[in-house]
């Protein structure tokens, strides 16, 4: 089971609205390389990991990714909070407003809704861990793209934190992957 803690893993206090940035940033919520896909992929893959290290690592990284979903959701919420309907239309979020109002909805930056295809599970630990290593690298690259699209330190600080987590997760998946390869799993 899971227990909720009423705090973010890393603080988010965005003082200035930025509707365009919200439109781009939402991809780390509901895009192919986003935090929701990562969380659910790892938590879904963990059942068929072949040893205790694998079951632990997939559970624990999947759990941390849930905290990252909350950070990204908070950022999108705060960037949009004070936006007018006109500003949302102007920033390309008219369709979002028509369908969801100011509510959060997991899509990529082009408005394509989240899909379970992003889970990408084979049941083969080597294939799944290589998938996850690639996913962490792709998420890191997207964070860098996003960091190049804003000058707001309130946005950059959490993006920088989250980007660094991709590096750690990649390293841990690689350690597990290399050990499984060596052991012929």
């Amino acid at each position: 089971m899971w227990k909720y803690e009423k705090k973010l893993e890393y603080p988010v206090n965005i003082r200035n609205k930025d509707v365009k940035m919200a439109k781009f940033l939402v991809t780390q919520y509901g895009g192919a390389n986003g935090e929701l896909a990562a969380a659910l992929r790892y938590l879904n893959q963990r059942y068929t990991m072949p040893d205790e290290k694998g079951k632990a690592l997939l559970t624990d990284i999947g759990t941390e990714e849930l905290a990252h979903v909350e950070i990204i959701s908070t950022m999108v919420y705060q960037l949009l909070k004070d936006a007018t309907v006109e500003e949302m239309i102007e920033a390309g979020l008219g369709g979002h407003f028509a369908e969801h109002g100011k509510g959060l909805y997991p899509t990529d930056a082009n408005g394509v809704p989240f899909t379970v295809k992003y889970f990408s599970t084979t049941g083969d630990p080597i294939a799944d861990l290589q998938e996850n290593m690639a996913a962490e690298q792709k998420a890191r690259a997207v964070y860098e793209n996003l960091m190049n699209m804003t000058n707001d330190p309130d946005v950059l600080a959490p993006l920088s934190f989250l980007r660094q987590r991709e590096i750690i997760h990649f390293t841990r998946f690689k350690e597990l992957h290399d050990e499984y390869k060596e052991r012929g799993l």
Binding site: K3, Y4, E5, K6, K7, L8, E9, Y10, P11, V12, N13, I14, R15, D51, E52, K53, A56, L57, D60, I61, E64, E70, S73, T74, Y77, Q78, K81, Y143, E144, M147, P153, L156, A157, S160, F161, L162, R163, Q164, R165, I167, I168, H169, T171, R172, E175, L176, D178, E179, E182, R183, G184
Partner: protein, 141 residues
């Protein structure tokens, strides 16, 4: 407790099973710096522009204290992931438990002043129900 030695293929000998990670040093930075970096490990830290991590600037005492709770929570998260793949590192297990003690202390201090952070809190024994009287994480502080 799991006995991780049982997870290994005993036919491969001790070298391949236990010495794998020794050639890769992963030394710890202090929790305060590790938290703002998003990375507790010196050798793994790989910043993007700008190279200096963003300093936190809490505007209230509540936020400053919450950052201490976050700092030790983060140290435990990062050490937990490390220990999942390095379960025999006695020194890091000691550090994990030191941070765990510190987290309990700062969490208790925070909750005694600002209310419960979780439903395991000792500070839920008040009227009206305290859980709904404190801010939600997505609200700007």
């Amino acid at each position: 407790m799991y006995n991780y030695s049982n997870c290994y293929d005993q036919t491969k000998g001790p070298d391949q099973n236990t010495l794998r990670f020794i050639d890769q040093p992963q030394t710890l930075i202090n929790s305060q710096e590790g938290f703002i970096r998003g990375n507790m490990f010196n050798e793994l830290y790989d910043p993007y522009l700008p190279t200096e991590p963003y300093r936190l600037t809490p505007q209230t005492e509540r936020e400053a204290m919450l950052n201490k709770v976050r700092e030790y929570t983060f140290a435990l998260i990062d050490l937990n992931l490390y220990l999942d793949t390095h379960p025999n590192d006695v020194e890091k297990i000691k550090v994990f438990n030191q941070y765990s003690t510190q987290l309990r202390q700062v969490t208790n201090e925070f909750e005694s002043r600002f209310g419960p952070l979780s439903l395991s809190s000792e500070y839920l024994n008040s009227y009206p129900w305290a859980w709904i009287s404190t801010p939600w994480p997505w609200e700007v502080m």
